[in-house]
């Protein structure tokens, strides 16, 4: 029961499987390795859900402690990281519930909207558009843009596109169906694209100006839009 089996169809064991076995045998240093490996990702996910730094720090600690205490329940038929993310997502939602007393909090909030599912802005972007902003301006734009997405879209995007989980792993980590993950991912990607276009699109000058004032005096405005 406590032995972890490798994933079905995989000949090679994921390195986490050996680490988890060592933790179960009482080797706490192996858990230290797992915590170091995943703490940044877990913090990122918690921050994206709670949108609060203190809560994200607490969630990260609670999730790792809970995972340690419940390690016997990890069957090894999913990746350890996917299992860990599921715990962190649940802890994050619990934290939100505490903060918004009396209000239901779930991964399904605000996802019924059809807003942003059809592209409207077809302007091309400047080459390497992020280089038109300094680091803090860019971070602010990216943060503000992703915070504007419904939570259920935001987390799917982060797990799939930033963390690199597969669609199936994302579905498992969030307790969603595969079609739901696919639908949310498409809409998250399109909405982010649409919103980032405001900052990153190529600002083409009128033809007469373009021919009269060529390079070095270009019209590429780069102020952060208010």
């Amino acid at each position: 029961m406590s032995t972890i089996q490798p994933l079905a169809g995989q000949d090679e064991q994921h390195p986490d499987v050996a680490l988890v076995s060592r933790v179960r045998a009482g080797d706490l240093s192996a858990y230290d390795t797992l915590v170091r490996k995943y703490e940044r990702q877990l913090f990122r996910i918690a921050q994206h859900i709670t949108q609060n730094r203190e809560d994200a720090e607490d969630v990260m600690q609670d999730a790792f402690l809970k995972a340690y205490e419940k390690l016997d329940q990890f069957q090894g038929n999913s990746k350890f990281y996917t299992w860990l993310v599921r715990i962190a997502v649940n802890e994050s939602l619990m934290r939100l519930r505490k903060r918004r007393t009396g209000r239901v909090v779930s991964m399904d909030e605000d996802v019924q909207t059809e807003e942003g599912s059809v592209p409207r802005d077809f302007a091309d972007w400047a080459p390497n558009p992020e280089q038109n902003y300094n680091q803090s301006e860019l971070a602010e734009i990216l943060k503000k843009t992703i915070q504007g997405l419904p939570q259920g879209f935001r987390v799917v995007f982060v797990l799939r596109d930033v963390d690199g989980l597969s669609t199936e792993e994302t579905a498992e980590a969030l307790g969603l169906s595969v079609p739901a993950v696919k639908s949310r991912l498409l809409r998250a990607r399109l909405q982010l694209r649409e919103r980032l276009s405001r900052y990153f699109k190529r600002k083409t000058p009128p033809v007469s100006q373009a021919t009269a004032a060529p390079q070095g005096n270009g019209p590429m405005g780069n102020g952060v839009e208010a």
Partner: protein, 77 residues
């Protein structure tokens, strides 16, 4: 292929999980449709930008403090 059909498989195009014959249809559509070409290109850039820029940094000193707290709690558990 219409723009609506292209949009329906946009994620598969981005994730490169498209059958060879569909890929050929997509290429034909993109040669004709500047809008879909822009949507594909800028959606790819959107993903790349978020992948390359960590917006919630965890400074080393905070990470160390949290790490010590986690391991202390686990020892006591």
């Amino acid at each position: 292929m219409t723009c609506t059909e292209f949009l329906a498989i946009l994620d598969d195009v981005i994730d490169e999980s498209i059958a060879a014959e569909t890929r050929a249809e997509i290429e034909v559509h993109l040669r004709k449709c500047g809008h879909c070409e822009v949507v594909l290109d800028t959606t790819r850039k959107t993903i790349e930008i978020y992948r390359c820029h960590e917006i919630y940094e965890l400074p080393t000193e905070v990470s160390e403090r949290l790490h010590v707290a986690i391991m202390t709690k686990c020892k006591k558990a």
